[in-house]
Chain length 435, copies 2
């Protein structure tokens, strides 16, 4: 028996001008499910929200309180952030990733969002002919929106669907065209939680060096590949990173998921000195500044936000230092996501669903924040809407550039034990209806 | 006798790659003066910083503290901001400007900076041929940087230098070309503190309506024309606004100066429903969304910052409501700027300097946050550097598109009584050296 009628769904879709859920943005889906909850009184099991469900560091809160009581509220932030925050970011990348980037090249941003905006904007305007961005999909649809809004051309290729996986072979033809300025990927990936392995990164790095392309490494889920414990500073193992193999790598970091700090909009763009020191005619023509550093600060950061919120900078630094000092270990706390994913995957598998993108080579992906799943009754589309009828919401992979377009992304960020209990009955009803 | 040697200035300019101070950005000048202070031990009288020097509302601080202790830190802000903040913004514009804009069209931004970025980005992509921005100068150079970074074409015209002033006549030829999408001005203006009067705004509004051009009204210094007391809600007089004469007006508001909140990066873009409801093929092509509302939220706000910092939103709302409730009157407190400007103008005039852009028609401009001045010994350039030798810093008007290129902008935001005392001796030394 369904909990939501087809009519209720049709009415709600109409309100947002949505023809097919596979075409809706995540934010539209979120609004639609909230409306359906209000309309029907049904408490959905919501897996569509990519929202952290744990707590920020006490040190982060304390640092914010101190700024709120200080004269800093009235003072413009420096465009390149507080020196002590830059220092903490540099130490963090050294201690937790074994990557050396000078503090002055670790620039705070409004989430990884502003970091990737800056990276796309700059990298696509460095060179007269290398002007496109190549997305290694499935990926984060808002990054596609970023290049679209900026008028930057792009290509996308699903590198995780092919078995066996041959990422370098897949992307080589694009690079050989000579017009790719930057390659974007996320480790682990949103939405499918696949990870590029060290040997894959090394091959891609060699391609980047050969074709003078810059790797754009999205670390919004820094260290959250729970197959390995990356939570201890200054000792291996370190998370794989393109930064271990080439200086042609800009890293985009976020406080949102790792530090449970999504509300305060914190992140950073991490740029090796060899890139930061680039001077180019194209940058000069676009931004009025030939050097990448000046184009970043005066051509992107200042005209978008004029720097990052003072108290948020302090909170972000508080979280970084708490982790560096070994006083707070969010990667251990985030194992809660691992446990939820194990249970949720088991429930789905037990009720006729299939897991998608579930391995890196021969190794199963980590149980973590996201994973992808499908159902054989919906080989093309329709699964998201079918699940909504049973009070369960998840995000279609279509926008993410997935080869497996019929799949959905599940996020366990906000799932409670109660959700994990309730979903079993709903999946059973779904299974019965599809028997 | 000078306090700073020509050699010290030359060395410091070289460090920042500055050939001529008239070509340096404000941020570069700020860094240079800080370096000179460190190098020489001279405590400058700094008039180059556009920084508020008063205190935020206690209610703003309290609201931020509450959020810092709440689970909101971990939760993404809504792209269109908190409903209660939108409501407060709408009430504020009704109560303090007598302009009616629905709450859902008052979208919080990271300062007026993100508001003007959004306005330029959207307005220049509404129509196939109206794609340029026209700046009514002298203006804020970072807005020029915004359109340059976005690749938007622009024109600029100094509308305040001509005596008698004929703003509508000056801009009509530009509009008749048919390619102007938006007209930008600030009331009062940064850097010269001129204000467009109601009758001027009415004429410009008629031109906007005739040529389907959108006025972009920068209210970063909302109500700070101290010739009139605009500080009481729900009663005239109200500050002049294009919004009184046409719906073709987007307003850009800031918490930085009025609320002494520059550090937290708060502002808003205020859009009448007639504009918010626009649908256009050009928007669809650029942003993937035909409606201006969706293009704003999903094509600009999400890809730049993904919404405004949760605690900053609360603080901003706290300040708005404190002022709406009559519990806090920052416009009365800001009269401190008026008193400082009176003293500083007197000191400059007494030592051979001339005030520039010092009247709106026959009426002297308000004594306020900024004003412009020059010196007859420097009819073209060189005044900024000459003053630096005497330990006084101010910003050249060159970048601001001023006809009076030899002038400088003085800001009294951070000036203390001690500064106002010390500057007299320095100006006397300058006068003696130029006798």
């Amino acid at each position: 028996m369904t909990l939501i009628s087809e009519q209720q769904i049709a009415d709600t879709k109409a309100r947002y001008g949505i023809e097919q859920l596979e075409r809706a943005s995540i934010r539209q889906l979120v609004m639609m499910v909230s409306d359906l909850e209000a309309l029907s009184g049904v408490d959905f099991v919501r897996m569509e929200l990519g929202v952290p469900g744990l707590s920020p560091a006490p040190q982060a809160r304390a640092a914010e309180h101190a700024v709120i009581d200080s004269p800093l509220l009235a003072q413009y932030p420096a465009l390149n952030g507080n020196p002590s925050l830059r220092q903490a970011l540099s130490q963090f990348f050294k201690s937790f990733m074994n990557v050396d980037v000078p503090a002055d090249n670790c620039i705070p941003t409004a989430g990884a969002m502003q970091a990737s905006l800056a990276a796309f904007w700059l990298v696509a305007n460095l060179h007269p002919t290398r002007t496109k961005i190549l997305f290694l999909d499935p990926g984060f649809p808002t990054q596609i929106q970023q290049v679209q809004s900026l008028g930057i051309a792009y290509e996308r290729v699903d590198v995780f669907a092919q078995r066996p996986r041959r990422v370098a072979d897949q992307i080589r033809p694009y690079l050989e065209n000579g017009d790719i300025a930057g390659i974007v990927y996320s480790n682990p990936s949103n939405p499918v939680w696949n990870c590029l392995a060290p040997e894959e990164l090394e091959e891609i790095a060699a391609l980047c060096d050969a074709h003078e392309t810059i790797a754009l490494e999205d670390l919004a889920y820094f260290g959250m590949d729970f197959r390995v414990d990356y939570s201890h500073p200054n000792q291996p193992p370190y998370p794989p990173s393109m930064g271990h193999y080439t200086h042609r790598c800009i890293q985009m970091f976020s406080g949102s998921k790792l530090f449970n700090y999504a509300g305060q909009r914190t992140g950073a763009v991490i740029i090796p000195e060899t890139l930061m020191a680039i001077e180019s005619e194209q940058l000069k023509a676009r931004f009025g500044y030939a050097s990448l550093r000046n184009a970043l600060l005066f051509g992107v950061i200042q005209p978008t936000t004029a720097g990052l919120c003072q108290s948020a900078q302090a909170g972000f630094e508080g979280a970084l230092r708490a982790m560096l000092d070994g006083k707070w270990n969010p990667l251990i706390e985030a194992r809660a996501y691992e446990q939820r994913a194990v249970k949720l995957k088991a429930a789905l598998s037990a009720h006729g669903f299939e897991l998608l993108y579930d391995a890196d080579g021969d190794t199963p992906i980590a149980d973590g924040f996201y994973f992808a799943f499908g159902h054989p009754a919906y080989p093309d589309a329709g699964l998201a809407q079918a699940l909504i009828e049973f009070g369960v919401s998840a995000t279609p992979l279509t926008d993410a550039g997935a080869h497996h377009k019929h799949g959905l992304r599940a996020c366990v960020g906000l799932m409670t034990d109660d959700d994990l209990h309730r979903i079993v009955g709903r999946l059973a009803a779904f299974q019965e209806a599809h028997a």
